[in-house]
Symmetry: C2
Subunit: 336 residues, 2 copies
DNA sequence: ATGAAAGCGCTAACAG
DNA sequence: CTGTTAGCGCTTTCAT
């Protein structure tokens, strides 16, 4: 069933059918009706490949996420999706499942022009790799970090700033021996959050103790193991700043096993505002990133670039985050 | 940069380049090397639209999920993804965001041949609608329910059976007044779980009390409101079977507000094995569906159909589920 | 083992 | 307002 069949049935040319399909205003309404009816009767549906090939557009954008399981991404996707949808784009989500190879594989969708633009929500891919794609003329945006390339749209929060804020909060509650649970080394998030941690210590004249740093790879189980290593070292600490909530959950597990009370014996702050943090006892203090807004504004920007070759806002959007103080660091947990 | 450019540079015909690209064995290795080098130097990447148009295949399958936020879907997607990937297919995920219109919109990807096959993980779409697509020759699979159509692959668990098991568990713990929190009416899950509930009562000669049924639309907040309505009725009940964990979370909230203790004053069982159930206090009894297996086996089946026009296994896969007894219904919660 | 030619289904440019 | 023509970039006969 193709466009010529419809044209034949309706007694018009393929062009006219195409015009009707694409909502051109210069078709007589009687003609339009004939065509519509033929489409209806034949059950015709236009072929995307032919369309894309001819028009060199797909009206689709792709989103590569590192792991669809991580709730952090879901809200971002909604922001992307709704904005894109309003502008006539479909959003295709690709789950890289923490797998670098798969992640790179999905890049093919952009290069083979299955999609018009791509949004990366993955901390793993290297800056040069991304810059290289942009140099080749592909339209790219990235959420969660800054890329220094004039054609790459970014939306991110200030890791250093909110980490400093989170750790300062612990310090102001009287803690001086604060451990830091880091994520994997390749992620900017890891070292920027570490830097924020260090700055907070500096600001309050607290010495930096490298033995209080452990890596938990942003993972619950590895976070558990990391904090167990800390306890094993016998260096005293009364608080933990975990670079994400997953690792903070690992801290809960460790404390439960060791009979350590949160927050009276150990205060805890995470990052991401994972939903579980509101349900666990005691509730988890954390940093909320405006995920929906990041997705939405970045998408606005990217689509602006794709269509006008200019960004409606500045291409790098630094977005404010919020420290949520719940019970695990001595708050009341009254936010739900 | 197209295939003729590569051909020119390598001093061969476009056909030969195409053959190299597609791994044809009948190309002399010296020729292959020339071509590969030209591809490399030119940074050529094949255009998907042209390819798809010519070959009438995309090597992609789509997955429409009702809401990507719901963790229930994430594992299913992993099962789909890994199986598809192993067979050379890319998986594109579409988030319908609980929106019927968007959901239907994504169907367009199948009809316009952007994807070769589609997996539905959405309880909302009606049976006839799905059957209709299959009748038109599209390749479709569905997870979570049974569709009576010889060309539709399905994978699902037995709602009636596991609900009967869950409610029997409550009855065996001494409960006779058990409330049921239902999901939205369009979903088979809702009434099948209700039927299992009724069967369990029948089997144990406990009268069915319609006033103990309330609808919470599979949603936490609405589940909370539903159980509040139950309390307001002043009909006594000592246990709740919630048709999913989200609504069960609403029950926790209601109990917290009203000072009702779980499980001593109210026993609770949900469905889905949401991750939160392991962290909340008391831990939540629930029904685990083998999500990964459902996704994987269905995909295996669908791809088999797409390529051989036959199902490797029977087209309707009924998959066993498991009742997980944790603290909320009197268990020890020792599973984590 | 390689190439020439045809065509997948659509839309854009141009003509009328 | 409508039609004719050409071509998007690739793969697939068929021929050599």
């Amino acid at each position: 069933m193709k466009i010529v069949d419809v044209a034949a049935k309706a007694g018009v040319s393929p062009t006219t059918v195409s015009r009707v399909l694409n909502g051109s205003s210069l078709v007589k309404s009687r003609t339009r009706n004939k065509v519509m009816q033929a489409i209806e009767e034949l059950g015709y549906y236009p072929n995307a490949a032919a369309k894309n090939l001819r028009s060199q557009r797909t009206w689709k954008i792709g989103v590569i996420v590192m792991d669809i399981n991580v709730s952090y991404y879901a809200e971002i996707i909604k922001g992307i999706e709704n904005t894109a949808y309003a502008k006539g784009y479909k959003v295709l989500i690709c789950d890289a499942q923490n797998n670098r190879e798969k992640e790179r594989d999905f890049l093919g969708l952009l290069m083979d022009r299955t999609i018009d633009g791509l949004i990366l929500v993955t901390p793993q891919m290297s800056d040069p790799e991304i810059a290289d794609l942009a140099d080749k003329g592909y339209d790219i945006g990235i959420i969660g970090r800054y890329i220094d390339h004039e054609r790459v749209a970014c939306a991110y929060t200030d890791n250093i700033e909110f980490s400093e804020r989170a750790v300062s909060h612990l310090i102001e509650n009287g803690h001086t021996h604060i451990a830091f649970l880091s994520g994997f080394a390749e992620a900017v998030d890891s070292y920027e959050r570490l830097e924020g941690y260090i700055r907070a210590l500096k600001k309050h004249n607290i010495p930096f103790r490298p033995e209080l740093i452990e890596n938990g790879n942003f993972d619950e189980t590895l976070g558990y193991e990391a904090v167990m290593r800390l306890f094993a070292k016998k260096v005293p600490f009364t608080a933990v700043y975990a670079a994400n909530d997953e690792m903070a959950l690992g801290v809960y597990k460790a404390c439960k096993e060791l009979g350590i009370r949160i927050p009276s014996q150990l205060a805890l702050v995470g990052v991401d505002n994972n939903r579980i943090g509101k349900y666990i006892v005691p509730t988890l203090s954390t940093v909320e990133q405006p995920k929906y807004a990041m997705g939405a504004r970045l998408t606005e920007n990217l689509i602006g670039w794709m269509t006008q070759k200019q960004f409606p806002e500045r291409r790098d959007l630094k977005i404010a985050s919020e420290l949520i103080i719940r019970e695990s660091s001595g708050g009341t947990g009254s936010d739900g």
